[in-house]
Amino acid sequence: MEKSQLPFLAVAALARLIKTKEVSPVEVVEAHLERIERLSPQLHAFLTVCHEDARRTARAAEQEIAHGAYRGPLHGIPFAVKDQLYTCGIRTTAGSPLFGDFVPDEDATVIAKLQQAGAILLGKLNMTEFGTTGFSHQFSTPRNPWNLERYTGGSSSGSGAATAACLCATSLGEDTGGAIRFPAAWCGVVWLRPSWGRVSRYGLMPGVWSMDTLGPLARSVTDCALTLEAIAGHDPKDPYTWNVPVPPYTQALDGNITGLRVGVVREQLDTDLVQPEVREAVRRAIAVLRELGATVEDVSIPLSTHTGAISGGLRVEAPMRYRMLLQSRLQEIGHDNRIGYLTGALLPAQAYYKAQQLRVLLRQQVLQALEQVDVLVQPTAGLVAQPVEPDPIIDSKTKTNRLSWLLTTTYSLANCGLSHIMADSRQIIWRELLRSLCKYSLRA
């Protein structure tokens, strides 16, 4: 195989070649670095590329494997991470020049775990400022590999672009209200938002404490499962990680969905917020599920139509995190965050209390829906990828919710695990994993 073709392989395929020594981790890393150099001027997916560290780690991996010390399916696999995660000795910006000189002295737990599994860090990926789900970038705006005039989705914008463009074999993003799901949907890759507490957040520069999660973006379900297996589990450094066993995700990929009960969330599909072509793509995916043996029925999550208001009521969490910057360096914060954080900072306590109550009811409704079915199906975003545009000025109350068509927040508020499979593909073969995400994760 030609070296230039290596970045197009899935993690599982690369792993087989590396294990059998048909390909060296050095060749794999070089092929990815070449591709990053060539495509970065168009895609703006990376904020920092770790050329020399990656090459040094690849040489070490090559030696280990040559001496029979193969660690497993991620050994020698190149990955990249959203620049919201601490990397020892490597600049970590959270997408803001305000952290342009911040160099952590330790790795986030998820990065340490991936490196322990033998994966090789290629670099830090672009993101919206502070990881706010939306459009606002302070360095450069990543472009959608499928159409450079279109946006990737955010906040894990670089993770979506880099993964879709094969600049890395797998990547990590961070998801608060949809920040993994949104770019993955618009860039056409597989994502997974683990349940809150399944993956350590130690070393994450936080956004909204009660909704932030870390998860993989990859080009196949198997690659997502491999990445999740490496990063999931209890972490003594993060007291909110669950001290319960991690299911063997890759073993669940048996290809059989016969009898799987699929619930279509009607409020999230039959709404004006969903474009006809998006609705049609979801209907085609549902037809594929039915064809493969699943039973399909409608379910209702009534409060899912109010998640903008409910999550809005929790907006105080991020500005509390960055309150010193709001007080002293307000004009250095991007427009969308400046307005959003000031708004959140002024929220009355009664509004926050009510939003938390509504969140409990919403979670109960999600659980009730999952009593009825095994998995839920709905669009991730109501719109197809949109053009790259500057932040709009808010000049009326009706223009305050720029992302009303992003249909992800229900499950952030419910703290439950989710995955996304491209609506047009037949990769919807994830029975036990989906079940474990939806049920085990909420109840374990």
């Binding site: 669950w242 319960v244 208001a309 307005i339 009510k354 109550q357 000025i393 909420l442 374990a444």
Partner: protein
């Protein structure tokens, strides 16, 4: 519910250590009023009996 005025928004900001001036003041006024209005409109019957638990952790 009556909208908050710009002066009230400015005073709220002052109370939490934030001096909010134009052009942000106008945008924040729209934004906060829209948010409070949206929350005000959501009143499921069972709401008053619910405890505001932010997250759900596994028992063991």
């Amino acid at each position: 519910m009556q909208d908050l005025t710009k002066e009230e928004i400015r005073a709220l900001g002052h109370a939490v250590g934030l001096e909010i001036r134009e052009p942000e003041l106008t945008e924040v006024t729209y934004s906060l009023n829209a948010l409070l209005e949206a929350l005000e409109a959501v009143n499921p019957a069972e709401l008053e009996h619910v405890e505001p638990l932010p997250i759900l952790l596994p028992s063991a």
